[in-house]
């Protein structure tokens, strides 16, 4: 699954499957598509989410208590493509994937129509050595992260291994820290844009309002909103509030 390199202003949303309630997953996805979101990351929860800040840690904990597992999630996503047509990526940590079986995982993704995966603690070396074949056989794009500290050589390597988009972290941080739009961040975004990579890139982590979204999409093909959206899910009538939330970014 390849996002279009020449499209701009893509808006993507991350949310944790099984949060706020076990069966809220597909309804939220459907509502987001109707609200004009361009693609989705659906998180599968893990007990030890080291790359996440408090908001997504909390949603993961609640989702696990609600009974969310990869098995349950794939069951819920069986009819995903009846309701949702935009690209969908699953995002989570590698250990649940290993227990589910990497091959089974890729096959299940394909069966329900998931386009790709983002597994932050599955590094490039291990992916290439152990899992690349099975991802490609099933047509599942694995998305890699790039940070301000990632060297150009490594970015080029990531670009060559990627087949969906590149996930650019706005700063070296866990999720949910508001992006400080300053010269340093802009210089970094511009540096990546100037690399003229084969894959489109979208910026995530710390995108929480119109200003940060606009700044990110000046350079990137799109931006991903995670913690700010997960916070909304804690409120009453969150489904009805989704359209206004999405409008507020554009």
């Amino acid at each position: 699954m390849q996002l279009n390199k020449h499209t701009n202003g893509l808006l993507s949303i991350y949310f944790t499957a099984g949060y706020p309630t076990l069966d809220s997953t597909v309804q939220i996805a459907k509502t987001l598509e109707e609200a004009g979101v361009d693609f989705l990351e659906i998180g599968f929860p893990y007990s030890d989410p080291v790359a996440d800040g408090p908001v997504i840690q909390h949603s993961s904990e609640v989702a696990l208590k609600n009974g969310m597992t990869l098995k349950v999630l794939f069951e819920q996503l069986k009819d995903l493509r009846k309701h949702v047509s935009i690209p969908v990526f699953l995002m989570g940590y590698v250990n649940p994937v290993i227990q589910y079986g990497v091959e089974n995982f890729c096959r299940s993704c394909k069966e329900v129509g998931v386009n790709g995966t983002i597994i932050p603690d599955l590094p490039m070396y291990e992916y290439e050595e152990l899992y690349k074949g099975v991802f490609e056989e099933n047509g599942i794009s694995n998305i890699f992260l790039v940070t301000p500290q990632t060297s150009e050589d490594r970015i080029r390597k990531i670009d060559s291994l990627s087949s969906g988009f590149i996930y650019l972290l706005s700063s070296n941080a866990t999720t949910g820290k508001n992006l400080q739009v300053e010269d340093k961040a802009e210089a970094y975004f511009k540096r990546i844009k100037d690399l003229d990579l084969d894959n489109p890139f979208v910026i995530g982590f710390g995108i929480s309002n119109k200003e940060t979204f606009a700044k990110a999409t000046t350079y990137a093909n799109g931006a991903i909103i995670g913690s700010a959206f997960v916070k909304l899910l804690a409120e009453e009538n969150y489904l009805e509030r989704i359209p206004d939330f999405i409008r507020s970014f554009r």
């Binding site: 893990y46 007990s47 030890d48 989410p49 080291v50 790359a51 800040g53 408090p54 840690q57 904990e61 696990l64 597992t69 990869l70 098995k71 940590y93 590698v94 250990n95 649940p96 994937v97 290993i98 227990q99 589910y100 932050p120 603690d121 599955l122 590094p123 070396y125 291990e126 890699f144 992260l145 790039v146 940070t147 500290q149 990632t150 060297s151 490594r154 972290l169 070296n172 941080a173 866990t174 820290k177």
Partner: protein, 394 residues
């Protein structure tokens, strides 16, 4: 190259690796490319050896425990890591890592701690070197281990409560990793055990390998032979065991026995017996064996001993277990407490409850009278007096 040591890709058999998010990649890569070079530098070696001698008090004695030997019908030596400065083997590693951090130009040190022994050992070396120190500790452990929290504070460390998850060691480790993600340039993370992404398991094992290096020399002096028949140690993450086993791994005639904490019993659900119950998986940056659900969620361990209360083991231990080189067994809370009391009464040494687990396994062994056994007495029991008092109604 030993088949039991890490290979050039950071693996022990199928275990190990560096399963870290991209945010930590530069930090880990910096360590991977530099740790051996720094550790082999003569000026590093000189300073490390000097501090181990003058500050830690090494070599630690190898003590022939005669009354214990008589009781079990074997020649039993105790490697007295309990006599080190700060009371356990942990300081061997923190001395090594603080010297490494200095040479990497790091200004700030972070660490995780369970019972507080590694936190104290880290705060100690930070005071020694005048570096900023932040220690993450589970909120529940902070309440349970007040004296160690006070020690760290006296030495100028900031102790931060980990309030996520179960609020114990596993969560303190998560918080330390999050701190490192947010402070990638100036901060070094001193991991306290042979866990974490490559090169930590190998680096920590090398710093702890002083334990078996000294043991060989001391045994030769005392018995005329450098190798015992059996070496034993307790295993949580496994750093004292990794150090105790290090120079014996390729001596295939030496039996290697690692004792995990069975808690209330391996089948009770209240246990930390990782090899008995665990499956292959990834936690805290490496592929190893860990206690987890069918869905890959990490299970909360239990042991009376905070230092063994961890749901995984280091990747080298996973490999020693899987390859059959090591025998991995377990001792319950009760067995360990009785063994701790026995050593106190026979030898006048109060062991840490962690170390008592290794001693407890002696009860289950059969000796023919002429074996030489070395047990790593990884720590002293001062920190556990509360537990001993409650358990034995003292």
């Amino acid at each position: 190259m030993s088949k039991y040591q890490v290979n050039s890709k950071g693996y022990y058999g199928p275990f190990g690796g560096a399963y870290v998010p991209e945010m930590l990649y530069p930090n880990v890569e910096e360590l991977q490319t530099q740790y051996l070079q720094i550790m082999e530098d003569p000026s590093f070696k000189e300073e490390f050896d000097q501090l181990l001698k003058d500050y830690v008090g090494r070599p630690s004695p190898l003590y022939h425990a005669e009354r214990l030997s008589k009781r079990y019908g074997a020649t039993i030596f105790l490697k007295r890591e309990d006599l080190n400065h700060t009371g356990a083997h942990k300081i061997n590693n923190t001395i090594g890592q603080i010297l490494l951090a200095e040479r990497l130009g790091k200004k700030r040190i972070i660490a995780e701690t369970g019972a507080g022994q590694h936190g104290v050992a880290t705060a100690t070396v930070c005071a020694l070197k005048g570096l900023e120190c932040v220690v993450y500790m589970g909120e529940i452990d902070i309440q349970r281990q007040a004296p160690n929290v006070a020690r760290m504070k006296m030495m100028g460390a900031q102790v931060v409560a980990a309030t996520s998850g179960s609020k114990t060691l596993k969560d303190a480790t998560n918080e330390a990793l999050r701190d490192w993600i947010n402070n990638p340039v100036d901060t070094h993370y001193i991991i306290g055990s042979v866990v974490g992404p490559h090169p930590y398991p190998d680096m920590v094992a090398r710093f702890q390998s002083i334990i078996s290096k000294e043991t060989k020399n001391q045994l030769l002096e005392k018995t005329g032979k450098p190798n015992p028949d059996i070496v034993m140690a307790c295993v949580g993450g496994g750093s004292n065991a990794a150090g105790m086993f290090y120079h014996f791994l390729d001596e295939e005639n030496v039996r290697i026995i690692a004792v995990e904490a069975a808690g209330l019993g391996v089948d009770t659900g209240e246990t930390a017996a990782t090899t008995a119950l665990g499956q292959e998986g990834v936690l805290h940056g490496s592929r190893s064996i860990l206690m987890q659900t069918e869905d890959g969620q990490v299970v909360e361990p239990y042991s009376i001993s905070a230092g063994l209360d961890y749901p995984g083991i280091g990747p080298q231990h996973a490999w020693l277990f899987r390859s059959g080189r090591g025998e991995y067994v377990s001792a319950t809370d009760d067995e360990a407490m009785q063994a701790g009391l026995l050593l106190t009464q026979l030898e006048g040494i109060i062991p840490a409850i962690e170390s008592s687990h290794a001693l407890a396994h002696l009860e289950k062994m059969k000796f023919n009278g002429d074996e030489t056994v070395v047990i790593c007495l990884s720590g002293r029991g001062d920190k556990d007096l509360d537990n001993y008092m409650k358990y034995f109604n003292l």
